[in-house]
Each structure stands twice: as C-alpha cells, then as structure tokens.
C-alpha cells in the first residue's frame, strides 16, 4: 500500500511541476491551474489510503467546512479585492502548517514511524521548530498584509522604533525555544513559544512595509507559505509536501526578485530600510503657479482628432473601481479609429499583476496591456496619455534627478507624450512621499476628480460632441 501511495505522490508532484509551468504562459495557464488542482486531488486521495488514517469523520467535516468557505470566498470576492484575498489564503496555508506540526508535537506517531532512528527523531523535531517559525511569520505576516490591503488599519508605512533589535531578539528567542524543543519535544510549551515569537516577528516585519512595496511583500509571503509546507514535509518525512512546498518557495522568490527589480531596490532595502533619503523639494516649490487644472469638456475637445492614446493605471484606479469607466471611454475612442493602449508598470497596484487582472475584468484584451519596456520607446508618438491614480511610477524625477529618493527606479516616461492628463483627487503625494514634477509640466493637465466619475464625464462629453 505504501508503495502505491508513494507512486501517487510522485505523479502528483509531476502534475504540480507541469501545472506551475503552465501558469507561466497565457495559452496554457487555465490548463496549468487545472493540472495543479488534479495533482492536489490525487495527493489527497492517496493520503486517505494511508494506514495512519483510521477515522474519517473529522476529515470529512474539515473538508466540507473548509471547502465551502473557500468556494464562497473565491466566487464572491470582487476583483479589486483580490490582493487581500490572496494574502488571506496565503496566511491560511501557513496556519495549517503550524497546526499540523503542533498536532505532531502532541502525537509524535503522526510524524515518526514505528521503530524510528535517532536521525529521524532529530529531523522531525528540528523541522517542527522550523515549521513553527516559518508558519508563524507566514500567517501573521499575511494577516497584517490582509489588514493593510483591505484598508482596515495600519495603512502606509508604520514606524517601529528599534525594529532591527526587536526582530533580532525575536529570532534569537525562536532559536532558543527551538533548541529546548529538540532536547525535550514532549514539552509542547516550547513549540508554542516558537509560534508566538514567530507570530510577533511576522507582525514586526510586515507592519513597517506599505503602499508601493506591498507587491514585494505579498510575493515574499507566497514564497514563505511554500517553505512552511516544505518544512512540514520534513516533520512528516513526506515527499509530496517537500516537492510542492519547494516549488512554491522558489517561484515566490522569483516573483519577489521581479518586483524588487521593478523598483530598483534590493530585497533587504524593502524589508529593513525605509525609502532612500534624498533631497526632497517642497510641494509648494514644485507646484506653485504651474499646475493647470482641466475639465471633462476640455479633455473631450483635446481628444478630438487624436490618433494615439495611452492609459497608465495605478492603485487609484483600483480604489475608485474605475476600470469599467476607463474601458468605456477607450471603446468610444476606438470606435473613432483612435489607437488606445495601456501602459502597465510592474509594481502598479498592491499585488504583482494587479492592474492586468482589473483590466481583464473590464474586458480589455491583454494584447493592449503593454509592459513598461515595450511602451517607453514609443511614447513620443502618443497624443494624449491618461494617468489614472498612478503617481511615483510616472515621476520623471526618477530619471532626471539623481538626488531624488526614487532616483534610478524605472518609470513609464509619460512626460514624453504630447499631452498628459492626470486624473487624481488632489495633489497629495504617492507612497514615496515626494511631489511629482510631472503635474507641473507645461504639457500636463490635472483633472481633480474621482477616477470613475471623471471617465464617465469624459465619455458623456465625447458622446455629446459626436
């Protein structure tokens, strides 16, 4: 029987590898996800045949409760709320790892076979400590990310004085409890000690990170949830947990790298440093007397006879739920033969790929969503660029002012377009907390309004003039 189960785990692992690979190409992504789900189903069937599984009632109850909660959440959530849902699911994965390793502390036979060796004994106990640490950081880190993304509390970047010292002490505390646990695994207090300290660590690591850095943290927590599963695999000496967990750990790290690169910052800088210090010009100096505000009617006149329009969305579009209104205006323009494209900065929004998901929800074909490197060389031929709720990712200071805190960050060069229309509720700064000279440029018009209302008004005005 054990051989059949292990072969099933092997097949499940292969399905996970194919599934993840499928998820990296648009044509194969749906199939890839289904392949991963099939692998999961197979692994679950296999474990039910394990001789260690003797009673089924708790398993069935758990599957029914968890399955219905998961299904309802997945069906009901609005696309704009996707980042926090992903963060929450991620946290649940970490929590499940904590609970499994905890169960093995109270009932070692879950982890250790009859007649186990000393090596197996130490492996299981060290892995239990590691699971408590990684799982705690994953769960509470994801929970804080969820609270931030759902805008319940802790908005922006919260300062914790002496956080480096606190974090170091927490890690040392976890190691100390870990050593105690390995020496006396029957004392469950040591395990929960690790979990509590790791949970605090998850909070202190995540609370200081905010705004535009969220995509990095979400990707990193995604990686941690995989590592937590792999650590649980070491507790149980279970192949499929180790393989699947490592795959996710690796893919999360790659995504984290992509996000860091898009901000021209190192991971350590995102996690431990604040934004780089630099000469910050005061908002008055940058804006005084130079900001021109405009109206929907003026914009619709401006759009008369243009041939190329680019839309640059940011987090503000998600907040205002403006994606459908944006698409409606784009449709009107396209009906008049205008070429409309979307320029997506890799860290626009609060989650990797956030803008792509929102625009796909509004039926924008993905061929129209262009990456920064694709669109930048062509921006000089653009008649009108709309900046919708984006700020730091279009700040020309990153390119031209070496003293700026965001100097060197790759940006979308909208300032090179013939005319830039910035739709924003006020002149308030973005996450970097610096004024944006783009708003004061000669070819920039500011439309101070809620993004959704603004595009509805512009569309109405275009229709009137038709």
């Amino acid at each position: 029987m054990q051989n059949i189960i292990n072969v099933a785990y092997l097949v499940a692992s292969i399905l996970f590898i194919y599934g993840m690979k499928g998820l990296t190409h648009p044509r194969t992504a749906v199939r890839g996800n289904l392949t991963g789900a099939t692998g999961m189903g197979l692994a679950m069937l296999a474990v039910l045949l394990d001789p260690g599984v003797e009673k089924y009632q708790w398993i069935i109850i758990g599957l029914l409760v968890g399955g219905s909660v998961g299904a309802v959440l997945a069906k009901r959530v609005e696309m704009t709320r996707m980042p926090e849902l992903v963060a929450l699911f991620n946290g649940f994965g970490g929590l499940a790892s904590i609970l499994v390793a905890g169960a093995a502390v109270y009932k070692p036979s879950i982890a250790l076979p009859v007649g186990y060796t000393t090596a197996q004994y130490y492996q299981a106990n060290i892995a239990t400590a590691a699971t408590g640490l990684i799982g705690g950081v994953t769960f509470f880190g994801s929970l804080v990310a969820f609270i931030k993304l759902a805008e319940i509390a802790l908005g922006g970047s919260v300062r914790i004085p002496g956080k480096t010292v606190i974090n170091a002490l927490l890690v040392l505390g976890c190691i100390a409890f870990g050593v105690l646990l390995v020496m006396d695994p029957s004392n469950s207090l040591y395990y929960w000690g690790i979990v509590v300290l790791a949970s605090i660590l998850g909070v202190t690591l995540t609370v200081p990170i905010g705004g535009a850095d969220m995509p990095v943290v979400i990707a990193l927590l995604n990686s941690y949830s995989g590592l937590a599963a792999a650590a649980t695999g070491f507790v149980l000496s279970n192949n499929v947990l180790i393989i699947a967990g490592s795959l996710v750990g690796a893919s999360g790290l790659i995504l984290t790298g992509i996000m860091c690169k898009a901000m021209n910052r190192s991971l350590t800088n995102v996690l431990f440093g604040a934004m780089a210090e630099g000469e910050i010009a005061s908002a008055d100096e940058v804006y005084a007397g130079k900001v021109k505000s405009t109206s929907a009617d003026e914009i619709s006149m401006l759009l008369d006879g243009v041939s190329r329009v680019v839309i640059v969305p940011g987090y503000g579009m998600a907040v205002a739920q403006a994606q459908h209104a944006v698409r409606d205006m784009a449709n009107l323009l396209e009906a008049q033969g205008v070429e409309v494209e979307y320029a997506i900065h890799p860290v626009a929004g609060r989650m990797p790929g956030h803008m792509n998901v929102l625009l796909a929800e509004a039926d924008v074909p993905y061929e129209k969503l262009l990456e920064m490197d694709q669109i930048n060389p062509t921006l000089e031929q653009v008649d009108v660029a709309f900046v919708v709720g984006a700020n730091d990712v279009v700040n020309p200071d990153a390119r031209t002012n070496p003293d700026s805190p965001i100097a060197g960050m790759p940006i979308i060069d909208v300032d090179k377009c013939r005319t830039v229309v910035v739709i924003k509720r006020s002149l308030s700064p973005g996450f970097a907390g610096i004024p944006n000279p783009l708003f004061a440029m000669d070819n920039t018009l500011m439309f101070f309004a809620d993004a959704k209302k603004a595009f509805q008004e512009i569309s109405a005005s275009i229709k009137e003039n038709m």
């Binding site: 998820l23 996800n33 499940a96 609970l99 393989i243 997506i344 989650m351």
Partner: protein, 95 residues
Amino acid sequence: MDLISILTLFVLAIFVGFEIITKVPPTLHTPLMSGSNAISGITIVGAILAAGAEGLAGESSLFLWLGLAAVIFATVNVVGGFMVTHRMLAMFQKK
C-alpha cells in the same frame, strides 16, 4: 527515508522551481501567485494524517482538534486558491 535523500529531494525541487519559472508575463503574475499559493496548500496531506489518526487510551485528544482546524484552513487555501485562480484566468481567456 533518511535525512540525506530527503534533503536531496528538497534541494532538487527548489532548483526545478527556479528552472520552470523563468519568464512570466506580467499579466500572469497574479494568477501564478494565487495558483502556486493553492499548491502550497499541500499541507492538507499532513492535516489529513493528523485529523485521521486514532487516539490511544489516556492520550490527549488535542492533536485531533489541531488536525481538524488544519484540515479546515488548508482546504480553504486549496479550494479557494484554485477556484479564484480559475476565475481570474477565465477573464483573460474570454476574448
């Protein structure tokens, strides 16, 4: 399985992970994340082992409660993760 073979497995799987995820178009960043997140719900295998174990006489049944809770949370992760990924990908595909 001894520690060395299990470590070998771990390291090789990480390398496989790095190799298969090379160039991901930004459109797929979110689905890749939520799909791989669902796969990290593989902990459900461990949760089932914990919730299905038979308690011995005189043994605390705490492990059962932990196992049950683990099954619930892991299932939310797995079912919700795959479904929400499918929903997102369906939006990309409908054109």
